[in-house]
Amino acid sequence: MDMINILTVFILAIFVGNEIITKVPPTLHTPLMSGSNAISGIAIVGAIISTKVGGELGTWLGMVAVIFATINCVGGFMVTNRMLKMFKRK
Amino acid sequence: MIAAILKENIQGETRVAATPKTVKELIDNGLQLRVQSGAGESSFHSDQAYKDAGGEITPDVSSTLSGANIVLKVSPLTLDEVDALDEGSIYVSLLQTTKEIALVKRLTEKKVTGFSMHLIPRTTLAQSMDALSSQANIAGYKSVLVGAAHLAVYMPLLMTAAGTIPPAKVLIIGAGVAGLQAIATANRLGAQVEAFDVRPEVKEQVESLGAKFVEIESQDKEGVGDGGYAKETSDDYKKQQELKIKERTAKSDLVITTALIPGKPAPVLINKDMVENMKRGSVIIDLASENGGNCELTQKDKVVNHNGIIIDGTSNFPATMQVHASQLYARNVSSFVNYMIKEGELKLDLEDEIIAGAMFTHKGEITHQQTNELATNT
């Protein structure tokens, strides 16, 4: 994978990230933050990879990273879901 | 061509048919203007102002009229004034032709071409000449002020330390131009306004002013006649209407009636019984008093107090607001004259809807049909 291509992807992704959020009602600020925070748990992919690639130390660091990232993902999506449930009309 | 402005000679008529401003307009349009001395006095226009506008001040009726081609007035000419008119001249004033048959006949004898501002068609194009509208608008406005001044109660809702004052209830009967303006004015003062009319399309107009429309439940068609004016209504409808009006008047603090049917006496909509059913301290202003009144107890140009209910029969409210009434009427008249007379030339286009519509005598004939019928029958 060459550098330029990756850069292209990175830049386009930033553009997409910039554009998809336009107007968000204040009540959704926290859930949106929480949801996108869960997505930043994508670090789990890196964590998984590093358990293998990183040798002994890497494996253990990776293991901790996996735990951390999983907390982020699982907790994040679940908390978001709970918050959003409140929006259901009683 | 010479146009003449006479001083009004009817008691209480404070308006004038031309203001210095419209005098100037008419002169600019190619006419010569004569203004009888003192014509503008009661509407606060001095002879000097007319002179400055280019008019010639004439001392009396005969010197004003002799040789004049067009005579402009507010109220109808007296028979004496007609005598002073040149034959074949043109005459414009407010005039209920069906009520003034004698005058109309005299005008035909003199071969005067007569125009009544009452007869200007109610079309969009003719609105700037529509004196009925401009004057009715004043009547509607003023009737509310006078009514409110008569009332022993407040118009608006007020919540004060000494208790809550409920808003006055105002009922407007007949929502033509005067009625609509009355609605608007009463609304402004904070009263609770409802209105009633026989023509169904008026409902939307009443609501467009934020008031409630009183509906009559009757199988029969409501009273819509020609040209958007009202006509007389059926018996069942009349009965339902009576019941409704009785119910509404009993609840009202101020009732303003404006119901008219062109060429007919005003319909009597509030009888003595209904008046006696009203709260003491309530007020009725009858704008139809000129044509007999919508209330049985109305006395033209009198304010009567019937068991604590005040019935005001003032017939000429516009004359109590003479500055603006004159300004608007004069503009209506000058628009009409300017419409007929282009570049100093008289063009009596008998095909023209407005000119033909407003004309009631021409070359010795009565051209207004209803008037003609009445004249031949009497």
Partner: protein
């Protein structure tokens, strides 16, 4: 590798859709679900692509993480949501930093650690660690472990400046390969931890959500940087998405508070404007913003508006009616409580509200409205003061003792709008403003109502 990357693209697309849908109340729930599916795809694809992985280890890690995350997520109270987000976010940043660190250690001393790689590693470690420590401080502040008040000491900004310079220097040294001492690397970690703390502690509790959002954006950037380290498309795209959208969200939040981001981060140096006192007695008031008011109103069924002289001064009658109409559109019952002496002349409020065309049947006088406060959710006091002063009911020494007042304090929540803590016509202090169920929204009534209207529409 082909398929893995394809899966990453699919995951990224789902993230995009998910974030987009999270922005609108109707689609938010599905958005979250879609994003989580994206995550699942990314994880499965990653696991599947490496045959030499230690599955057991990973499984154990994931199970531990899931249990911790799920427990927190389920246990936490609704009011503690923001701190949860903060702490989860911290873990995410930490993970990125750890991965980058692991990569650093692995490649340390080898030729693989070229300038680009080591640069991105440093970036990832730095941002990830900062996010980690900053998020924990944010958590602590919101949870009450650390004082919610801004903690400031002189020289803080200077200290921060030095730390940033330090990090840049060390980072450059490592990157250009001048010095490969591992201690330098640890130095960066330590500085990043410190910086996370010092950047977060001076920020007041009310501004925390903005900071969390910013840290969230950082953790995205950290993930993206890690992606560059690992040359992994999935991390790069998703991280960039979160980084960019997080920044936008942070900005939106700042705008909502009428502040700039810079003002939130650096400006809040030590002003505690929440406690105001008038004549002798101290009243502790809770001051709030219009969008909080909007949210309180959103939850209400019955709202009573109490206009006073201030509404007339601000000529805010039209704005008040607009807000009332908006509330009615939202299905709430709205009434106006007219005190007989509100304003400066008999019937002042009537004149005012009639001008704004408020229907008469919505105006209730003292006698009619007072029983209504009992089951009223929110009373909004607009520039009224004396007429809602509870001292009239119980304080025999008060010059207005015995005057009937509007019992607004009986309603569940009272929102009071006025410009300052100044008293009204009678010149006496109003204890209502310090009541438990009272929230003050300071400002000119017209401006406040205009903003409130906007906020209500945006809910």
């Amino acid at each position: 590798m082909e398929y893995t990357n394809l899966a990453y693209v699919a995951a990224a697309v789902l993230f995009i859709i998910g974030i987009k849908r999270l922005g609108s109340p109707k689609t938010a729930q599905s958005g979250n679900a879609i994003a989580s599916i994206g995550m699942l795809i990314a994880i499965i694809a990653t696991v599947a692509s490496f045959d030499l992985l230690d599955f057991k280890l990973i499984a154990i890690g994931m199970i531990i993480g899931s249990i911790i995350g799920a427990t927190f997520a389920i246990r936490v109270q609704m009011t503690q949501m923001p701190q949860m987000v903060a702490i989860f976010n911290g873990f995410g940043g930490g993970a990125s930093a750890l991965v980058a660190a692991s990569e650093f250690f692995t490649k340390h001393g080898t030729a693989d650690l070229n300038t680009f790689i080591s640069g991105t590693i440093i970036l990832s470690v730095f941002i990830g660690t900062l996010t980690f420590s900053g998020s924990f401080i944010a958590f602590g502040k919101l949870q009450g472990f650390v004082s919610g008040k801004p903690i400031v000491f002189s020289g803080l900004q200077i200290l921060n400046g030095f730390m940033v310079i330090g990090i840049v220097l060390i980072g450059t040294l490592i990157t250009i390969g001048v010095n490969q001492d591992l201690n330098l690397f640890y130095g960066i970690v330590v500085l990043a931890v410190l910086l996370g703390v010092t950047l977060t502690i001076p920020i007041g509790g009310a501004d925390m959500p903005v900071v969390i959002s910013l840290l969230n954006s950082y953790s995205g950037i950290a993930a993206s940087a890690t992606g560059f380290v690992l040359m992994n498309n999935g991390l790069i795209i998703s991280g960039a998405l979160v980084g960019a959208s997080g920044l936008i969200l942070t900005n939106i939040m700042c705008k909502g508070m009428n502040r700039s981001l810079a003002n939130v981060i650096f400006g809040a140096v030590g002003l505690e404007q929440e406690t105001l006192s008038t004549d002798g007695k101290q009243i502790n008031v809770k001051s709030s913003t219009t969008d909080e008011a909007a949210m309180i109103l959103d939850a209400a069924d019955k709202v009573i508006i109490v206009p006073g002289y201030g509404l007339a001064v601000a000529q805010a009658q039209h704005a008040a009616r607009e807000v009332a109409e908006q509330l009615e559109l939202m299905g709430k019952t709205v009434l106006y409580a007219i005190h007989p002496v509100a304003g400066r002349m008999p019937g002042h409020m009537n004149v005012l509200l009639a001008e704004a065309n408020v229907p008469y049947d919505k105006l209730k006088d003292l006698g009619d409205i007072n029983p209504e406060f009992e089951d009223c959710d929110v009373a909004i006091i607009l520039g009224a003061n004396d007429v809602v002063n509870p001292a009239a009911r119980h304080d025999t020494s008060s010059p207005i003792y015995g005057m009937p007042i509007l019992d607004v304090d009986k309603s569940r929540t009272v929102i009071v709008n006025k410009r300052t803590m100044n008293p009204g016509f009678a010149g006496i202090q109003n204890e209502l403003f310090g009541f438990e169920n009272t929230v003050m929204v300071f400002g000119d009534a017209k401006e406040m109502l205009t903003t409130l209207y906007k906020d209500l529409k945006e809910l």
